[in-house]
């Protein structure tokens, strides 16, 4: 249409076209993406609800420790004002890439307010050299070389 008739200059048409294109693109993205964006959290909610309490409590620790028992036992046995140390030996079958690297980091998080201290009485032993802890007894032993030791008082 003749711009002199509509009163719209070329610049105006360009302006309206740009805004129109933006709006069309934005609405198209919303139409395409909204269903997925809504489905994903629903799937997550279902998966989360299916987890048992220990899985949910450990979270990322499930990828670190091959046996959930170590963290559960440590939290149950070491008093809140107690201290622990983490001793890691050679990798064992069942360990993940994260086990040796992140065991202490995760234990520091999970067991707070229990503190990580060198020489502590409680030893989270991951296939460790038990001879390095003379007098320490295993109070719990699990799979993949994991155990909880306690040194003599």
């Amino acid at each position: 249409m003749d711009p002199r008739i509509t009163g719209a200059s070329r610049g105006d048409r360009l302006r309206l076209a740009a805004i129109g294109i933006w709006l069309a693109l934005a609405l198209a993205v919303i139409v395409v993406r909204y269903a997925d964006a809504f489905r994903a959290p629903n799937d997550t909610a279902r998966a989360n609800a299916a987890l048992d309490l220990v899985d949910r409590t450990l979270g990322g620790g499930n990828s670190v420790f091959p046996d959930q028992g170590l963290m559960v036992e440590a939290r149950g046995r070491i008093p809140p004002d107690g201290a622990f140390q983490v001793a890691v030996g050679d990798a064992q079958p069942g360990w993940t890439d994260l086990t040796a690297t992140f065991a202490e980091t995760y234990a520091r998080y999970f067991l707070l307010p229990r503190r990580a201290e060198p020489g502590a009485d409680w030893i989270l032993c991951l296939a460790c050299d038990r001879a390095a802890f003379p007098g320490a007894d295993a109070v719990w032993e699990g799979e993949a070389g994991l155990s909880l030791l306690r040194a003599e008082q």
Binding site: L25, V29, I30, Y109
Partner: protein, 457 residues
């Protein structure tokens, strides 16, 4: 994971919102209760920032952090701000009808609220029973929060031995307050605290923009950003990335609106948010510099009047950041910034870092086409709208983008990769995409009004 824990979080976040709204009352007053409701989201984030900044300084001074302290801070802050508001002559808000919406605006708003609300409700259910998976969360963010909760302060062992010892403590403080509100260290329900922050951020953007842009630009902008593949539930990860981004985006928006109407309360609120950003993540300082720097350029013509005000904003942000930096330096912790600020890095790495930032920004599998939409809106704003506003957002976007590239090239130990476990550039770029939600409607509304005088919706 109990109803009691959720109720505690509701009360805590209502407290944050009440604190922020009281500050807004002192700063600007509310003539109508509807105005307070419209700005409740901004009030929530402002309350979180103010609470976090105050408690960071108190913890540096050695004041113990506990339930009584949390309640006292909120009650004293709310009462003090309300009294200050009355002394400043702010009127008591009343119930009164405001300007009505057109039928179209009403329909679009209803659809927008419904679609955003549905999405947020789905996020709530996802967060409700979410286990703590994010490695940075259990490696240092949550341990620091647990330390603040159990030891009532900045425990030296946890804060100096954990990864990221220079990362500021605002988020751990907010998390620790959430633990107190929940009644235990419930790291599962903690995800809902981040849901509240997200709801606050969405409400803040909508509430701030509502009077400045048409509904048909506001809600598509919010929705298109919320549905990008990279966001979704990741917005609820208990890390500081999203919170620092939200502080940055809201401050940038407030300053953009201030450039338009020069209402001083916007700058004051932006200062509090930027102070919060500097104490949330290290790049908060960078974001604060970006916002203030862009505003300095955009207000060049009125520099005699405006620059002292912007200088005050910068001063507040920096002053808030200093005590924490003194605390960790006194404990021989360093490494917040590269020693030579990256000046000694070769040109190859600089180019590679820029290319990586560009690749990540325009990666459609992460952000869909939102960066392209942002650029289109920017071009429209610069071509047909308020050029000062366009220039401001162009500088904010450009400088923040270059800041991301600088982070990569200046830390020689960060590999040039989009792998999130090795390089933070993807998480960092989220700030630019969130910025789009605030900037796009303003820029397009400015271009839209060009041919229609200066009428406001």
């Amino acid at each position: 994971m109990s109803v009691r824990a959720i109720t505690g979080l509701v009360v805590l976040n209502a407290g944050f919102a009440a604190l922020g709204l009281s500050l807004l009352y002192a700063l600007r007053g509310f003539s109508r209760w509807q105005d307070a409701a419209r700005l409740a989201g901004l009030g929530h984030l402002l309350g979180v920032a103010a609470f976090g900044v105050v408690w960071t300084e108190l913890l540096v001074l050695g004041v113990p952090f506990n339930g009584r302290g949390i309640v006292a801070t909120l009650v004293l802050g709310i009462a003090g701000a309300c009294v200050a508001g009355r002394l400043l002559g702010r009127p008591v808000p009343r119930l009164a009808r405001g300007p009505g919406l057109t039928t179209l605006a009403l329909l679009v708003t209803a659809a927008g609220v419904a679609l955003v609300g549905l999405l947020l409700e789905a996020f709530f259910r996802a967060a409700r029973l979410q286990s703590l998976q994010a490695s940075n969360a259990w490696a240092f963010w949550v341990p620091k929060a647990k330390a603040v909760y159990f030891f009532e302060g900045l425990d030296e062992q946890v804060f100096t031995v954990s990864a990221g010892p220079t990362y500021p403590p605002l988020l751990p403080i907010v998390d620790a307050a959430a633990f107190h509100a929940m009644g235990s260290v419930d790291v599962v329900t903690l995800h809902l605290q981040f849901w509240f922050l997200l709801v606050g951020a969405v409400a803040a953007l909508a509430g701030l923009l509502y009077r400045h842009v048409p509904a048909w630009l506001l809600w598509p902008s919010l929705l298109v950003v919320l549905v990008v593949p990279r966001f979704g539930e990741r917005l609820l990860t208990p890390q500081a990335d999203v919170l620092v981004d939200v502080f940055f985006v809201l401050a940038a928006l407030l300053v953009a609106l201030w450039l338009d109407d020069r209402q001083g309360w916007r700058l004051a609120a932006a200062a509090v948010l930027l102070a919060g950003a500097t104490l949330t993540k290290r790049e908060g300082l960078l974001f604060a510099a970006v916002v203030v720097g862009a505003a300095l350029v955009a207000s060049w013509r009125t520099r005699r009047r405006d620059w002292p005000l912007l200088g005050a904003v910068a001063l507040v942000a920096v002053a808030a950041a200093v005590p924490w930096r003194l605390w960790y330096r006194a404990r021989d912790v360093s490494g917040e910034a590269p020693g030579d600020l990256g000046l000694g890095v070769g040109a190859d790495r600089t180019v590679d870092a820029l290319r990586l930032s560009l690749d990540v920004l325009f990666e459609t599998s992460l952000w869909s086409v939102v960066p392209f939409l942002f650029l289109l809106a920017l071009a429209a704003g610069l071509a047909w709208g308020d050029r000062r506003l366009g220039a401001y957002f162009a500088i904010v976007l450009g400088a923040a983008f270059l800041g991301g590239a600088w982070v990569t090239y200046s830390y020689a130990d960060i590999p040039i990769t989009a792998n999130e476990a090795l390089n933070p550039i993807v998480r960092y770029t989220g700030a630019l995409v969130l910025l789009a939600a605030a900037a796009m409607p303003l820029l397009l509304a400015s271009a839209w009004r060009h041919g229609r005088g200066s009428e406001r919706p």
